[in-house]
Amino acid sequence: MLTQWELERYSRQIEVLGKEGQEKLKNAKVAVVGVGGLGSPVAYYLAAAGIGTILLIDDGFPELSNLNRQILHWEEDVGKLSKPESAKWKLERFNSGIRVETFTGRLTRDNVEEILDGVDVVVDCLDNFEGRYVLDEYVHRRGIPLVHGAVEGTHGQVTTIVPGLTKSLREIFPKVRERKEKIPIIGATAGVVGSIQVMEVIKLLTGLGEPLLNKLLLIDLAFNVFEIVELT
């Protein structure tokens, strides 16, 4: 049941999702894996939407050069808190009605079962495919959805993996060369892609609209490109 406070806090989106939809968000646990450029807008909007429990996972600490895009980390956090802890204190002040859990460390094949246990949707905000394949394997073992996002410069991509319904991430991207150098990125690009990932989560949890199942959304904000590639 939603409280009077929740009915007011979420009133403008309850018009879209219904009270039932809002309750589904409240009862959900969503993992944000990577609390950087994508993870910042993703965690922020998940918190705004009233996702009941948000699990933040990252092994890094905010650096000054992160702040052009990682908007959940502020100058005062640099060198002090881990990224999950830095994000947690803001999100809890932003929305006192949700739970924010953290894991500061790297997800591996050895710890993923334990750390992601009980999660309903996994959001991929990582910056490497090695970690993404760990998530891909996990969601296929558990039969839960994975919302993939990736960005570089002014472009990005989003697709949603649902075991049994869609191709796996590894089938779509069987081999990606890891880039050793720092990847250039304009913060707003991550804002756009992360916002779309949050819409995917809301659609998956409430049944609203159509998630990007077997569809890869490609975006290039420099050239106003929004393109869908059918993956079937």
Partner: protein, 87 residues
């Protein structure tokens, strides 16, 4: 036959245009088209496509993801996009 090739993201910047029409022999496969483009644009060969593995480029044909052994037809629209990994 004529094929329209569209370049996305990093490829677009490297090549300097978003799309073009090119003439290819009948029976050309997706993989052969990629090879042809590497010859036409050495910058792709050096900076983007791994020499030993075509999987480093993603290709769609008429809006659908394709494998490299598919044979192209006149009028096809082929899009090339790089895998993106940042977060």
């Amino acid at each position: 036959m004529r094929i329209k090739v569209r370049y996305f993201a990093r490829y677009r910047s490297l090549i300097g245009k978003g799309e073009e029409e090119i003439e290819v022999p009948e029976g050309t496969t997706v993989g052969e088209l990629v090879e042809l483009l590497k010859e036409r644009y050495p910058v792709l060969k050096n900076e983007v496509f791994a020499d030993d593995d075509l999987a480093d480029v993603n290709v769609s044909r008429n809006g659908r993801y394709v494998r490299f052994d598919e044979v192209l037809r006149d009028g096809d629209v082929v899009a090339l996009f790089p895998p993106v990994s940042g977060g």
